[in-house]
Symmetry: D2
Subunit: 145 residues, 4 copies
């Protein structure tokens, strides 16, 4: 699929500015905040692909995180403008695996992965990814790097 | 009331240890976290006075913050063990005014105030403080300093 | 001064999107995060006025917060795009008073004030606002609303 | 070594209470906060083993996180009292691998791993774990589970 091939070369990109409150005594972003940055990128991809995370919630679908992995290569600093590249690498029956690569001015800083599970918003029990959601996300699915 | 008089001299005290993630590039607690410390003290006072914040939620009562004020006198540092002193200074029809004083080893660090409003948990609309809640909190109400 | 008059009508504006991690069990932004939003606006105003907060640090000047006040009128929600309007209302010898007004789609949400003190970055002791900093900030100073 | 064997059966335990501000719209602890909980446990282990993280800083040694991994099994909720079990599973030349297991009332919630690297506090460059630090930490090193 042409669109899919295109996405392989062009992952979803979210830009953000590092806030003062996110930096610790070492003058760098504290390690936990990168998970917030991953989540902010996912929210933006969801808006692009599905019209917004809240629209998904309105359909009684929510996401819970089952797994996360981070590799810290270099530190982001206050006022740095970061790019969060995000690619969905697996869309299973109820699971969504995403890969992230955070950089600044071409320098790679943090790589990571999350595995989400789709649940009913009401019951928080696993529920299959609905068709409308799968087709909305599919253009952003890469077969991995 | 003897218990009330007693409370005047002895405000509710919550102790906590400053976390690394709460300290900024200046090596001190970032200013917003003191509102989290105030809130942690309120949760503990609620547990003592009412059996827990969640019990209040179960009765369809929740709190929203209407106002907050903070005066920063001196800085808390990583690993400092802080005492958060909290006194309720006003219990209105739907409003609860609390005063806080955070210190470390006898040094005053941050003073503050919050005004909460009681709301229905479902509708988030104002609702009067119920009798069981008022009588649970009353022993902790001081007429101010 | 024409430029000053202009600023009275047009405060500094910073736009940001509410993150999932900033919302609490009530589905609204937790009260402490507004202080982070205030700070993010200040960082952006500093960039516009002085070329960046880090440039100020390089001149051995830093800011500490001495006081903060917040009035919560209405709640911001996940994915809301907020505007933070910021005006400096007082530039003293060593103090900077700023007022903030956060809104969403024309609805006012949170008003607030901070008072910062300029300190030596090394010693964290009070130091007068240097001339280059005062002249950089002056166009953004309003005499209050 | 008897002490070491003892540690295998009894990892370091840090207890903490979930704060309201740490819970998200799902009513559970947002995923990034578990990294803060891991870090809080490390701080406490450091105090027990070395007299405090700040004492290590005074010796010009600091830690940076190189990798983190989390598996989320079940959700922690507001007011839950959590136990964070921490074991050091590897003390290398410059690296410290730790494993964590967070639970509540016997229910496992989140498992995780961090790999830290020892650096000079001044230069943030890698530096070998000093002898006094290694011998202080060794009683807490397990050969893995």
């Amino acid at each position: 699929m042409e669109e899919g091939l295109d996405r392989l070369a062009r992952p979803f990109i979210h830009r953000l500015r590092v806030r003062y409150a996110e930096c610790d005594m070492q003058g760098v972003v504290f390690n936990s905040h990168y998970l917030v940055y991953f989540d902010a990128a996912l929210t933006e991809l969801w808006r692009e692909a599905l019209g917004g995370y809240r629209l998904m919630l309105d359909q009684d679908i929510d996401l819970v995180v089952a797994e996360a992995h981070l590799r810290y290569k270099s530190a982001a600093r206050f006022e740095d403008e970061l790019t969060v590249e995000m690619t969905i690498t697996h869309l299973g029956e109820t699971s969504i695996v995403s890969e992230y690569s955070i950089g600044c001015d071409g320098t790679p800083l943090v790589d990571g992965m999350t595995r989400h599970v789709t649940v009913s918003r009401d019951t928080l029990k696993k529920t299959p990814i609905p068709g409308w959601m799968r087709s909305g996300l599919e253009p952003w699915v890469s077969s991995g790097r």
